[in-house]
């Protein structure tokens, strides 16, 4: 038997909107002007929330917070392609996904302020709680997809994670199982180039992350993550494929974490201001504004109005967060298990009694 090539592969990259805001009309997904305006408003809302969260943390009004800045298009663009019946399995830096799907801003603030009741997903949304343990939630998305397939429910399950997660064992185990069972799951990687201080080349020797999917037997595609149209289109294709039994897809979204890893981090210790400045030029909101401006959908007046509206929503959410009654000490016992054990009963009612009313 001669030596021969038995497999070759290609990795496709998708960009629709370039940095100057010019769109490739042949690739544009069908979006109405109202849809595009809505995407823009969600991008601005996410950034407004993010900037306020950062300020609140500096003022000691919320706890440690992981900024979203620069990654809004991945989040809004992908979430716009989802149906309410789809499931979302997030990590911890996807607040734009939450807001696009209608997760209340004040609830999210409450979570970052240390009130666990902020993670009670409203009944009409299928969003799992934020997962701070990197990559370990990937198998949950796989299991949800297994259950949905068993139930013959035409839903897509979307898991979000970062580039760092692709180095974890659960990434491998989850991807592998998704491939073996051809499950209705879409994996979206926000490749923001940095996992705290480790750059992408410190995570992988792979030329792209997208190509990793090929080894698991399903499609991987790389998209420009700062291009809201490309992300939307790739996600829409993938969730439609998932819902109709076509199996999993991996979407690597190239983006950049413009801010620090969290409010406890100082990114200037490990990366250059020039690198950050170059990525600021590729800002996803700026790019969409340029596109919309060219189409007569955006002017400074409209931009200011959108910002005002977002600011009002965030103001109200901050007010709601800060006026919410703090949890009672007994609350920490209420959701450990459906029923408490004998010792927990004693701990709750004898050792940590409810405050006298």
């Amino acid at each position: 038997m001669p030596e021969e090539t038995i497999a070759t592969f290609t990795v496709r990259s998708l960009r629709i909107l370039d940095e100057r805001g010019k769109a490739d009309e042949a690739l544009m997904p069908p979006l109405s002007e109202a849809d595009i305006r809505q995407m823009y408003e969600l991008l601005v809302l996410t950034r407004t929330y993010d900037e306020r969260a950062l300020a609140l943390q500096r003022e000691g009004r919320i706890g440690t917070y992981p900024p979203v800045k620069g990654q809004e298009a991945v989040q809004v663009g992908s979430a716009c392609a989802l149906f309410p019946t789809d499931w979302v399995v997030p990590s911890f830096r996807e607040m734009g996904v939450h807001f696009t799907l209608g997760y209340p801003l004040d609830l999210m603030f409450r979570y970052w302020a240390g009130d666990e009741r902020g993670l009670v997903t409203p009944a009409n949304l299928n969003i799992l709680p934020i997962c701070v343990s990197v990559g370990t939630h990937i198998p949950h998305a796989v299991g949800i997809a297994m259950a949905a397939k068993y139930r013959r429910d035409p839903v897509a399950v979307v898991a979000y994670f970062g580039d760092g997660a692709t180095s974890k064992g659960d990434f491998h185990e989850g991807f592998n199982m998704a491939g073996v069972f051809q499950l209705p799951v879409v994996f979206i990687c926000q490749n923001n180039q940095w996992a705290i201080s480790i750059p992408l080349k410190g995570q992988t020797a792979s030329r792209t992350l997208a190509q990793k999917a090929i080894a698991y037997g399903f499609d991987g595609v790389q998209v420009d993550g700062n291009d809201v149209f490309a992300v939307y289109r790739a996600t829409k294709d993938a969730v439609e494929k998932a819902r109709s039994g076509g199996g999993p897809t991996f979407i690597e979204c190239l983006t950049y974490r413009v801010a620090d890893h969290t409010t406890s981090d100082d990114a200037s210790r490990y990366r250059s201001p020039e690198e950050v400045a170059a990525w600021r030029e590729k800002d996803p909101i700026l790019r969409l504004e340029r596109y919309m401006s060219g189409r007569g959908l955006w002017d400074e007046g409209y931009g200011a109005e959108v910002k005002r509206k977002a600011t009002r929503a965030v103001d109200e959410a901050v007010k709601a967060m800060e006026s919410a009654a703090p949890p009672e000490p007994g609350e920490m016992f209420e959701h450990v298990s459906a029923t408490l054990g004998q010792r927990q009963e004693k701990q709750r009612f004898v050792d940590h009694p409810p405050a006298p009313s």
């Binding site: 499931w87 399995v89 666990e116 009741r117 993670l119 009670v120 997903t121 799992l128 709680p129 997962c131 343990s133 370990t136 939630h137 990937i138 198998p139 949950h140 998305a141 796989v142 299991g143 949800i144 997809a145 297994m146 259950a147 949905a148 068993y150 139930r151 064992g169 659960d170 185990e173 989850g174 592998n176 199982m177 073996v180 209420e334 959701h335 450990v336 298990s337 459906a338 408490l340 054990g341 004998q342 010792r343 927990q344």
Partner: protein, 320 residues
């Protein structure tokens, strides 16, 4: 009434629960066509098919992680980890997620999941096939830890575990799998979780033991006025039953095959010291394996508490 061993009793529990409720699905390595390496799931693949008897890739973390997702979606998954020593790969999923998703989501999402694993020593198996590290799981709130000691309770406890709204670690003592046969009724009965069983009544010394040690304890206490308690559930523990017995007998011997230090016996001893020390007529004594790794077959019987060692300890406590 049929005489069944523990493998057959667990198989019957799984079969009946799967017949009763189509939310019950099994997943794990070799659980389908092969019927599991101990044949616990034998025949179920033919009865229920590949959709409900899921032969997974060799991925302990994803087995438990996927089961978490299935449970969140509304199924009642029963995941098998082939041997307890391999569950270590899935600790992250059990500790960081199965145990905490209810709490993290404030009960918006729950994880009615059972993780079954054969455990314990004395079956001439390779390394990591004879672990007894149940105490690890008892440290983590949000998971129940259940250990049957015979066919009858195994069936009833597994039924309760499958119906429990929260994750249950169900550890099956491999040495007992085919050692004991008991009358095991077909059809519905449940042994409640969180409730200890007084296996033998007595008034002079309380001996507490679970899993495969119970069988040895029952031989060791012959001739003594000993009360033997099988907790059945280690977490949450039935302290009321244990403390009531110790207050009556004034003596306590704890027997487990897990290593001594940090074994669940330490928790029992500390609790008795705190809650019942004035009733004690002798020190609380633990009979456990030494703080070494479980040896292979040639040495394992020097490691595991023997009937003689247990009897000798009970005798010392009685003479104190």
């Amino acid at each position: 009434m049929p005489q069944l061993n523990m493998v057959q009793a667990i198989n019957l529990a799984l079969r009946e629960e799967m017949e009763r409720d189509d939310r019950v699905v099994l997943l794990g390595e070799d659980v389908g066509k092969d019927g599991g390496v101990f044949r616990v799931t034998e025949g179920l693949f033919d009865r229920f098919g590949a959709e409900r008897l899921i032969d997974t890739p060799l991925s302990e973390s994803a087995i438990v992680g996927a089961a978490v997702g299935m449970a969140v979606y509304g199924l009642l998954p029963v995941a098998e980890i082939q041997f307890m020593g391999f569950v270590y790969s899935a600790f992250d999923q059990i500790f960081a997620h199965a145990a905490r998703l209810r709490s993290r989501s404030r009960s918006r999402f729950t994880v009615p999941l059972v993780v079954r694993a054969p455990y314990g020593g004395g079956i001439k198996a390779p390394e990591l096939h004879e672990e007894s590290t149940e105490a690890f799981f008892c440290h983590m709130p949000g998971v129940k830890v259940v250990i049957p000691s015979g066919p009858y309770v195994a069936k009833g406890l597994l039924v309760s575990a499958i119906r429990d709204p929260d994750p249950v670690i169900f550890l099956e003592p491999t040495r007992l799998y085919r050692l004991i046969k008991e009358e095991v009724p077909e059809g519905e009965y449940a042994v409640p979780l969180g409730k200890a069983r007084i296996v033998r009544e007595g008034s002079k010394v309380t001996v507490v033991a679970w899993g495969s040690m119970l069988e040895r304890v029952m031989k060791a206490v012959e001739g003594y006025d000993a009360e033997v308690i099988d907790p059945l559930t280690l977490s949450p523990f039935d302290w009321e039953t244990l403390l009531a017995s110790v207050r009556e007998t004034g003596r306590l011997v704890i027997v487990h095959e897990a290593q001594f230090t940090g074994g669940f016996g330490a928790e029992i001893a500390a609790t008795v010291a705190q809650e019942a020390i004035l009733y004690l007529r002798a020190p609380v004594v633990r009979v456990a394996s030494p703080d070494v790794h479980v040896p292979l077959a040639k040495l394992v019987e020097h490691y595991l508490p023997s009937v003689e060692r247990i009897r000798g300890t009970v005798d010392e406590v009685m003479k104190y």
